[in-house]
């Protein structure tokens, strides 16, 4: 009998050791959501929808290339189709872990490349409800992560991870992320303000298989306090296209190659 007990405990030990911590879940989630493939391309349509249902559309091609592994440096290149007053504008972000991004913008009307001061990753991306951080990720180390519970969200088994900023000056109190246990994509995220009231809600509305990689192709960020929301659709998503490093340069900011931006 004793032997059997020992066997059972021994059998349980590796399982215990294999259980993921909150931080590990978030690292896997970051890798699955923001780093899959060597590079990535999508046509992005963002609908900014006000409480009065007025709709504004931002349409762009987004190209992303990883410089290293998950959590490492990335480069983003964006080309705007809409609205008309920013058509042909390009935008480039060099994203670094643990320090501020470098950002450049090309303004076609005056043919000018401008480097932009960007110390705030939590500021709005092109006026939408998404912040830069929501688009390109937040450093895992900036928050403490703990698995609150495990539960089903629709048909998917999820970890619910509570992330609390380590720095006291963060503009939010904490967030809860529902991470799909099977593919580690974040399916839902609730952001709470510092008083503990929910103010932003992210939902992954559609996940598609792109070259074998589960990809969130429709997502919504809703500001629950203002009623404003942003719906984002990725079309023509693709991975591992062989985007050259040279694309991420002033030369191509000024003259974006059609083969990449169309």
């Amino acid at each position: 009998m004793k032997k059997l007990w020992l066997c059972m405990i021994a059998g349980l030990l590796p399982l215990q050791a294999m259980a993921l911590t909150g931080e590990e879940v978030m690292r896997k989630s970051q890798a699955a959501f923001l780093y899959p493939g060597k590079d990535f391309k999508a046509r992005v349509v963002m609908k900014l929808i006000g409480r009065d249902a007025q709709e504004r559309v931002r349409e762009l091609t987004m190209l992303r290339k990883n410089a290293g592994g998950p959590g490492g440096e990335q480069k983003y290149f964006m080309y705007f189709f809409q609205p008309a007053d920013v058509k042909d504008m390009t935008f480039m972000i060099n994203k670094y872990p643990a320090r501020d991004d470098d950002r450049w913008m090309f303004i076609p009307a005056i043919n000018m490349v401008k480097r932009i001061a960007a110390q705030d990753k939590r500021s709005s991306f092109v006026g939408s409800d998404f912040t830069y951080e929501d688009v390109s990720g937040r450093d895992i180390e900036d928050d403490g992560h703990a698995i609150e519970r495990e539960e089903r969200l629709g048909a998917r088994d999820c970890y619910v991870v509570k992330s609390t900023p380590r720095a006291g000056d963060a503009d939010f109190g904490h967030k809860l992320t529902w991470v799909d246990k099977a593919n580690f994509l974040p399916l839902k995220e609730e952001q709470y303000d510092r008083r503990g009231a929910i103010y932003k809600l992210f939902t992954a509305d559609e996940v598609a298989d792109v070259k074998g990689i589960p990809t969130v192709v429709r997502r919504t960020m809703k500001n629950l306090q203002s009623g404003h929301r942003t719906e984002v659709t990725y079309s023509r998503s693709d991975y591992d296209l062989g985007i050259e490093d040279s694309l991420f340069s002033e030369r191509f900011l000024r003259q974006p190659p059609r083969k990449w931006v169309d």
Partner: protein, 395 residues
Amino acid sequence: MLAAAPAAAALAVSGFLQQNTAFNASGANPDGRHYKWLEERAQLKLDATSGNWRGYLKADGAYDHLGRGGLTEVREAFVDYSGGAFDLRAGRQVITWGHGDLVFVNDLFAKDHEALFAGRPLEYLKRGVDAIKLGAYPKLASFEFVLAPSFRESRIPDARRFWLFDPMPAVTNRETVRPGQGEWGLRAYRDVAGYEAALYLYRGFQHTPSMRPDNLAAPTRITFFYPELSVLGASLSGRAGSGVLSLEAAYYDSRQDRSGTDFTVPNSQTRLLAGYQLQPWEDFNLSLQYYAERMHDYAAYRAALPPGFPLEKRWNHSVGARATQLFLHQTLRFSVYASRNASNSDYFVNPELRYSFSDRVWGALGANAFGGKPWGQFGQLARDDNVYMQLRYEF
């Protein structure tokens, strides 16, 4: 088969309809009118791409209610070829180099100063130059070489609409002589330890005219001309602290008067610019800049300057700032640009409110205010303060 198939050509057509009015805020124009600008304008843009080739046309048609009437204008018209490590652009094109905000150190090609002071959209500050631009991008650095076979001058404010300083108003017999030659510029740039470093060369002419009377004692005729100019410059830009620092310097070699003894030709100069840009909070940008000009042959300039002409200082310092705040999901923008010259008390202030009514329609309401010494760049425009409106429908 696939490789042999010609790349599909793509054509994009876009443009806008625009109304632009600038009301005088302090009295009438020299021509008696009360507007700096009053026009309707349409723009058509054609952008065609096929393989490595691209053709681009941006053409305007406008009707001016202040005496110029109907006019058409080719803003840009060029053909691009993009190869592996080089590219070529031939035709009318806008060249923008350097880091200044409405201050130009290494950005030498033609501007439209009238557009800036008359409350037109910012893109009209730039004039296209008819040129061939060759870009080469070897590993060492990137190069842009611009060759313009014929010189294109900057547009200065029209003396019928703006009160311009004129030291010899009685002399009405005036002519303008444009250079018979062209101009060229070179920019070489690369990353140096996270900073963008650039070198610039320019050989051509001053873009705003100098005036030369036929006789100082009893002038009967004034000739406007564009003095020969060469420029050697450099710039550096990158992150510093939580913002972006830009530094720029240039040596202006006034080839037509290296000794500085001809008072009608600008003295050789050093120009310096330092700019710092930061984002203290969400959707708010602040940029600060300091700009200085130093005359090289000041003693010769002083000695040659005829009595009665305003005396410039050896050093000319100015400071400027631009603050921009976005509201309502970045559809409403309030910005203020202000600059003040510490050497001659010149100032220029331009607040502007711009709102996107929809994705296709935006409007702007702004003002231009000028002041300073009567001969200063902005001081001479002290009676030209205006309030402007721009309304544009884009398609």
